[in-house]
């Protein structure tokens, strides 16, 4: 009788261990005194000290975070527009083609996207002189093009779930279309925007292939740096850096989760009040 929950909890535990075990081991080993990444020889915070003295690594981390934030923001703006069109406009000329094009980057091999972006930038430079060389801006543009489809899919799904009669009611009450979008639609799909932003941020942060193609002088990102270190040896500084990034991301997700939870509670309360009163 009581056995079912035990089995369920075991599976839950195994599932979480599968997801978070590797991350926990990175955090654990970041306090390892040993230079060998997987051999424990004592507690130490020396790799954090080394990390902060390693200017090149810090610089690469900042470049990566900057690119990730910019491309996530760009992808949310464009992805929302695309998702909105796909969910709210039942038919327009070329809709199937548009839907296919928006989701194509999801299944396109990164090597092809990377090479195509590189050729585009080189071609543009020859024709109109822009972009003048490649760097942070070209990486950001390339990242936006492939992360926006993730955002579009999320936004589209959220809009499909949403009760369209709310928007219609607002229009009945005299709101203009843009007012409906800003006052009704946007707040309702906000959770999708937040998760889309975070997803785009993460994808951009750890992309290596496309970034390698479209990077230029002065734009070494963290993944490029880490993979390049393989040649002469990866040091546990990377564990320390990963721990810091996990810390930052966890804090961000916790805050956004708490905000969403509070919003949901308020919504439920007002719904109850409306039903009761």
């Amino acid at each position: 009788m009581n056995r079912r929950p035990v089995a369920l909890f075991t599976f839950l535990g195994l599932g979480y261990a599968f997801l978070y075990g590797p991350i926990l081991s990175v955090i654990f080993y970041s306090f390892n005194e040993n230079r060998l990444v997987t051999v424990w020889s004592g507690f130490s915070t020396k790799w954090y000290g080394e990390l902060f003295r390693n200017e090149r690594m810090i610089e690469a981390a900042i470049t990566s975070l900057k690119i990730a934030a910019m491309s996530a923001t760009g992808a949310v703006v464009l992805g929302t527009l695309a998702g909105y069109c796909l969910a709210r406009m039942p038919s327009f000329w070329g809709r199937t083609l548009f839907a296919g094009l928006v989701s194509a980057p999801l299944v396109m091999p990164e090597v092809i996207t990377g090479l195509a972006s590189l050729l585009l930038f080189v071609g543009l430079e020859q024709m109109i002189g822009w972009p003048d060389g490649r760097g942070v801006d070209t990486i950001t543009i390339a990242h936006i093009t492939f992360t926006l489809s993730f955002v579009a899919v999320i936004v589209q799904a959220r809009l499909k779930d949403m009760d369209q009669s709310i928007e219609e009611a607002a229009m009945d009450l005299g709101a203009r279309p843009w007012q409906v979008f800003y006052l009704i639609t946007l707040p309702l799909i906000l959770p999708a925007l937040v998760s889309g932003w975070l997803l785009a941020f993460t994808i951009s942060l750890d992309d290596l292939v496309i970034t390698s193609f479209v990077s230029g002088p002065g734009s070494t990102t963290l993944p490029m740096m880490i993979f390049s270190k393989v040649r002469l040896g990866v040091s546990p500084e990377i564990n320390a850096l990963a721990t810091l990034i996990v810390g930052i991301v966890t804090t961000g997700i916790l805050i956004s989760g708490m905000l969403l939870l509070r919003q949901n509670r308020e919504k439920e309360r007002s719904a109850r009040e409306a039903a009761g009163g």
Binding site: N34, R35, L36, V37, T38, V39, S41, E55, R56, L115, L118, L119, V122, E125, G133, R134, G135, L208, S212, F213, S215, G216, P217, G218, S219, T220, M224, M225, F227, S228, K229, V230, R231, L232, G233
Partner: protein, 370 residues
Amino acid sequence: MHTVKLWASTTALCLGLVGAAFAPAALAQKKVVNVYNWSDYIDPKVLEAFTKETGVKVNYDVYDSQEVLEAKLTAGKSGYDVVGPTAQPFLARQVAAGLYQPLDKSKLKNLGNLDPEILKAMEKADPNNAHAIPWMWGTNGIGYNVGKVKTIAADAPVYSMKMILDPDTVAKFKACGVMVLDAPTDVFPTVLQYLGLPPDSKSLADLDKATDALLKVRPFIRKFHSSEYINGLANGDICVAFGYSGDIIQASTRAAESKRGVTVNYSIPSEGAQLWVDTLAIPKSAPNPDLAHAILDHLMKPSVVAASSDLTGYANGNKASTTLVSDAVRTNPGIYPPAEVRARLFTITPADKEFERARTRAWTRVKTGR
């Protein structure tokens, strides 16, 4: 009145925008030289010294494979002033494709410091050394766990390719673990040399013989991989590996640092070993060829090269710097081999498409064991 105000604010806005657009341009006036190489390959301190001396900022970007560098160069206008291709096969085919500009040797006062032997080895890739200077070099050889190999076979021929290619010898180490590089161009030449055939042979019959030799020992090899053996050796998970000298020396350093009783040694096969050279060259599209020459000249100063050799643990192609390299690196026969071993080092030349295809097919046969 109203319009005047509007006009004034619009002008101010426009001026602001123009100013904003020009500000980065003004900053960019500061001289910058863009270097593209492996991470940690050039000591950051020597680049800082260059900045202090000349006022030129050095942008040091890194790649994770030679292929990425090649993709950048072939796409055109990479924006880099100095890049670090490996002599074979990358520099060779990139020089042939006209991706580099000839060095202006009048601007390179320190050229005399370079090692003539290494320059000669590079000539196969870069005729007359017209486009590139050597940076670090090393060999392909045998890394082994000293303790374990001794317990298994006290008389193991650690200075010979028999460690990998003699079926009776390598069979003893099967249980302990044997790994080999996953790179046909870095394995076949050494096998040919072991068999007494010309290492640079382009004959299909020779290739077949080398393939057969590898197939005989295939059952005893745990894995073909080009970097896993570093940790494998350092942790004591494997006993013997055929790999790049730099990687095995790195494994040896790590094993020593972790103080777990693992000692890793590198030996250059007595039959003769393949030499590799990492070079420095200036792409044709370099935005600042003058500065590129200046930094190349800086990177040929003995003290500068010696500092980078100490950092990487690799031998360098700068003869004048040898005495300045730390004892640990300089006296290691795996890094700076004695003259009689150096005499047996060899390099290879690029193959034509047909042979390359045959070699790739042969390599697939070796890896799959069929």
